[in-house]
């Protein structure tokens, strides 16, 4: 690329953009230089503009929301944004009931989101409080080779106890990532990664009201253990948004009518993730390479985020409700599933139970109806594990886990606290078909056998024997299982 021409052209175009404001002029868009990033600009070109201090951060960008996480605090020293990342081992909760010893930054897994503005000159101090050497690579960031953070290649690895300084000027905007680039297999598998959001100096396009950041990753945590296994290559059993599994993922709360942007970064070891959002189609507006020209943006309901890539999507939240957002790989929405089990779907198990109970009185065959009923049975499972656990929803048990979260769109919200469950207005709730409807539309169905009426007005029942009803918690008289609260 010819340096001279580019610089002059860029100057011309950006000044045009300034005059025209946030106008969606095709010319300006086409001329935006994300694809032609000058890479050799002197890194000591400080003070082109003064970075705004933290208190005024809202001044030149709308801060992003990192569900279950936060942004890295910074200070401004002589116009330079100064960050301090501390790599350390810590205990992390994936969801209530599952904790593990992981590696993260600044007391959290994954590391806090680094937010800055295009043009900022940044100094990032990285202290290694691990017992292994590490580095930090700035994934997708245009910077000098020596700051790239590849252990052995760009720099010496940061030894335990040492503090390194990374310093460069941000010449782009977009959604990027940072992660360890020394013994990546181990260190990333233990959690050493985070998101970077560089806001454009002059935002273009419609104003985004809610800006979310989600990082996807995958882990192998043997149920009953408390440390991820970095040697796993194919059989991951804990799939996370921002290092959390459902029901531990915070919902994305949005006021109806707001424009929403969701930035998704995938640093899973081996798997791409097709992230699907219910209730909407969105437009894919950017990758970790930069903004996609408007003509090139395409609509999706599921955006495939490859390993090592980010995808940014936008949509207007005009459809109120509780909307599932999740990886569409079915095994990625299960918590700590076991594999290599015999297939018990459709097996008549009465005689199996009898034969095995002679040896093991508390045995019960499971899986004949699939996995749906498992979570509510209340049986003892290995400590510190959440196999197949989901959560109680407003109607019934939500048999989901893993890489699953909920977009909650409500009319007239006054705060972004979790607004609870959505109540569907009359006429928009799927329920058992009424007899009059069946009759009117000529649908002939066999009457389902009436379940035996529960005795008395008890509040506890057995998950396997619904006819049992008890006022108090206890054990089922038929099979001995712990009784669960009745579904209202």
């Amino acid at each position: 690329m010819k340096k001279q021409n580019l610089i002059s052209r860029r100057d011309m175009l950006t000044s045009t953009a300034l005059t025209l404001g946030g106008g969606a002029l095709l010319l300006t868009r086409a001329g935006s230089v994300s694809a032609e990033m000058p890479w050799d600009e002197a890194s000591n070109k400080k003070g082109e503009y003064a970075a705004l201090p933290p208190e005024q951060a809202g001044g030149n960008y709308n801060p992003v929301i990192t569900p279950n996480g936060s942004s890295l605090p910074f200070k401004v020293v002589n116009g330079v944004k100064v960050f301090h990342l501390i790599a350390e081992e810590l205990e992390h909760e994936f969801a209530p009931g599952l904790r593990a010893t992981c590696w993260g930054y600044n007391g959290q897994v994954h590391g806090p989101t680094i937010e800055a503005v295009e043009g900022d000159h940044v100094r990032i101090y990285v202290t290694n409080n691990l017992y292994a050497p590490t580095t930090v690579h700035w994934h997708g960031v245009i910077l000098p080779s020596g700051m790239d953070g590849v252990g052995g290649l760009s720099q010496k690895a940061i030894q335990p106890g040492e503090t390194f300084l990374y310093e460069f000027t941000l010449k782009q905007h977009g959604t990027l990532m940072y992660h360890s680039h020394h013994d990546e297999m181990t260190q990333m598998a233990l959690g050493l990664m985070g998101m970077i959001v560089i806001h454009p100096r002059e935002p273009k396009g419609p104003k985004v009201d809610r800006d979310f950041v989600l990082m996807t990753s995958e882990w192998k945590i043997d149920p009953g253990t408390s440390r991820p296994d970095p040697n796993e290559m194919t059989d991951f059993n804990v799939l996370t948004f921002n290092a959390r599994v459902y029901p531990g993922t915070d919902p994305l709360v949005v006021k109806q009518g707001e424009r929403v942007r969701i930035r998704i970064g995938n640093l899973s070891a081996m798997d791409h993730h097709p992230i699907h959002l219910h209730g909407y189609y969105f437009t894919v507006v950017a990758t970790d390479g930069g903004d996609i020209p408007e003509a090139g943006r395409w609509p999706e309901t599921t955006v495939l985020v490859p390993v090592g890539a980010t995808r940014t999507v936008e949509f207007v939240a005009d459809n109120p409700g509780d909307w599932a957002m999740h990886c569409h790989m079915t095994h990625h929405v299960m918590n700590q599933m076991g594999h290599g089990l015999p297939n018990l779907v459709g097996v008549k198990s009465g005689i199996i139970d009898k034969k095995i109970q002679n040896l093991l009185p508390s045995y019960m065959t499971m899986g004949q109806n699939g996995m749906g009923d498992m979570a509510e049975m209340g049986m003892e499972t290995p400590k510190n594990s959440i196999p197949m656990v989901g959560a109680r929803g407003p109607h019934d048990y939500i048999t989901m886990g893993g890489m699953f979260t909920i977009l909650k769109v409500r009319e007239g919200l006054t705060s972004y606290e979790d607004p609870g469950w959505y109540t569907a207005p009359a006429g928009t709730q799927a329920t058992t078909a009424r007899d009059e409807d069946l009759l009117r539309d000529g649908i002939k169905v066999k009457k389902s056998p009436k379940r035996a009426a529960p005795k008395g007005g008890g509040t506890y029942t057995c998950p396997m024997h619904p006819e049992i009803s008890s006022a108090n918690p206890g054990n089922c008289p038929k099979c001995g299982m712990t009784l669960v609260p009745k579904r209202s």
Partner: protein, 469 residues
């Protein structure tokens, strides 16, 4: 004639043994009851037969125990009764050894060719050499009786040991069979589960048949166990001398628990040397060969010496009467050969005794070490292995609950726990057999509770008392 009668009276008043079979048996009874804590009965009369019958019937009413089985065998086993008769044989030897040899009466008549009275000759001779050595011969025969008593007692102890070993072997196999039935239930449960899963179309014919193989294999093992049990029952029945109705005896299908008190291993070799009858027998053999050595030479040389009285009516009608005396002339050295033989036999008896003593000591130590070994293993299995296996089953169940392990893994874990139980039963069976072996080595039983003081009577002391009469 007067002289003859005097002679006869002298013969008859010679010291003879008036020992009865029962008196000979008394010592055996005392020795056995002291070592085995069990009564032994010589069934040689209608009364004793009735007594024995009654006792055995009584004992057979209950489940057999090692003690009751031993008691039954000692009363009922015809083989050991045959051994008792050896006492009769030995006693007869003593009797005959004490008896004078019968004098020889000779009568002859000759008819003179030239006329005159018929010549009559009467004579009585007695083997007088035997007379001289009669006490010594009797002494040898009495030692022979002591040896016979020791042998009989030893046979009784051997029988008791065999009975107990057969008993534990049977009981251990019965207990194992119960556990094997549980293993069968486990393989059956696996197979039934596989069948149901197969019926739902969820698994292959191959997987189903592999499960079936394990199930059928276990059935086979159980059948083999049942056959072995029948064989072991027969063995015990034979030792107990039972048949017909008597073969329906019952036995607890569990081995007894390891006793809480340990065997007293102090001075166990010394106990063995003083208690064992085969050693006592070997010692008596030294006595016998020693005594024989004393009379071997003269016996060989002067055997056939005679002393006698004869009277003759000559042709002229006169009676000539007078004593006679015959003695072999020791030209050829027959005595040396006999002496040499007797000496060799004496030395052989000495060496055999020492060899047996060394063997007994070694046997005792080996048996003790084996017993201690089994005891330690049992403790370890009870304290460590079995609780661990149980814990594994519980943990497997917990993982099964989380649908992390399948039902086949759960059944496998349970099966492994049962197999650990089978190993323990096998170990307990070996413990009891080892304890029986130690009792055999030491020559007495160990009480299950440690007594305050043990009095040990050795065969030497008792044989001494027998001599005084």
């Amino acid at each position: 004639m007067k002289h003859l009668s005097v002679f006869f009276i002298f013969l008859l008043t010679g010291c003879s043994s008036t020992l009865t079979n029962q008196e000979a048996f008394n010592q055996v009874e005392i020795d056995i009851s002291e070592r085995l804590d069990t009564k032994v009965l010589w069934v040689n009369s209608k009364e004793t037969e009735d007594e024995m019958s009654k006792k055995v019937t009584e004992l057979l009413k209950q489940e057999l125990t090692p003690d009751s089985a031993t008691k039954i065998a000692l009363l009922n086993n015809r083989g050991v009764q045959a051994t008792f008769e050896e006492l009769g044989v030995a006693r007869a030897e003593v009797m005959s050894a004490a008896l004078f040899p019968n004098p020889l009466l000779s009568v002859s008549s000759r008819f003179p060719s030239g006329g005159g009275r018929t010549n009559f000759e009467f004579g009585i001779t007695e083997n007088f050499f035997t007379l001289l050595f009669l006490p010594l011969q009797k002494s040898i025969a009495e030692s022979g009786l002591e040896a016979a008593k020791s042998k009989v007692s030893n046979e009784v102890l051997a029988l008791a040991s065999e009975v107990k070993t057969a008993f534990y072997e049977l009981q251990g196999t019965l207990q194992d069979k119960e556990l094997l039935k549980t293993v069968l239930a486990a393989t059956e449960a696996s197979y039934v589960a596989a069948r149901q899963i197969h019926a739902a179309g969820n698994t292959t014919d191959l997987e189903l048949q592999n499960e079936q193989v394990m199930y059928e294999q276990t059935k086979l093992e159980l059948a083999k166990s049942e056959t072995e049990i029948r064989q072991l029952r027969e063995k015990l029945t034979t030792l107990l001398g039972l048949w017909g109705e008597g073969t329906n005896w019952t036995i607890a299908e569990r081995l007894p628990e390891i006793p809480a008190t340990e065997v007293d291993f102090r001075e166990i070799e010394k106990t063995a040397l003083t208690s064992r009858f085969d050693l006592a027998s070997a010692k008596t053999q030294i006595e016998i060969t020693g005594k024989t050595l004393g009379i071997a030479a003269p016996f060989a040389v002067f055997q056939g010496s005679e002393l006698g009285l004869d009277t003759e009516r000559d042709v002229d009608g006169q009676w000539v009467t007078g004593p006679n005396f015959a003695l072999p002339i020791p030209i050829f050295p027959q005595g040396t050969a006999a002496s040499a033989r007797a000496e060799a036999q004496y030395k052989a008896a000495l060496f055999k005794y020492y060899e047996l003593a060394v063997q007994i000591r070694s046997e005792t130590r080996a048996a003790r070490d084996k017993l201690i070994g089994h005891q330690k293993q049992i403790e370890f299995m009870k304290k460590v292995m079995l609780p661990l296996r149980h814990s594994v089953v519980q943990q497997t169940q917990i993982h099964y609950n989380g649908m992390l392990l399948g039902l086949f893994a759960l059944i496998s874990a349970k099966q492994a726990e049962i197999e650990a139980g089978r190993s323990l039963v096998s170990e307990i069976k070996e413990y009891w057999k080892a304890r029986t072996m130690l009792e055999r080595a030491v020559g007495r039983v160990f009480p299950l509770e440690r007594p305050e003081a043990t009095t040990i009577s050795s065969p030497d002391k008792t044989s001494q008392s027998q001599h005084e009469h």
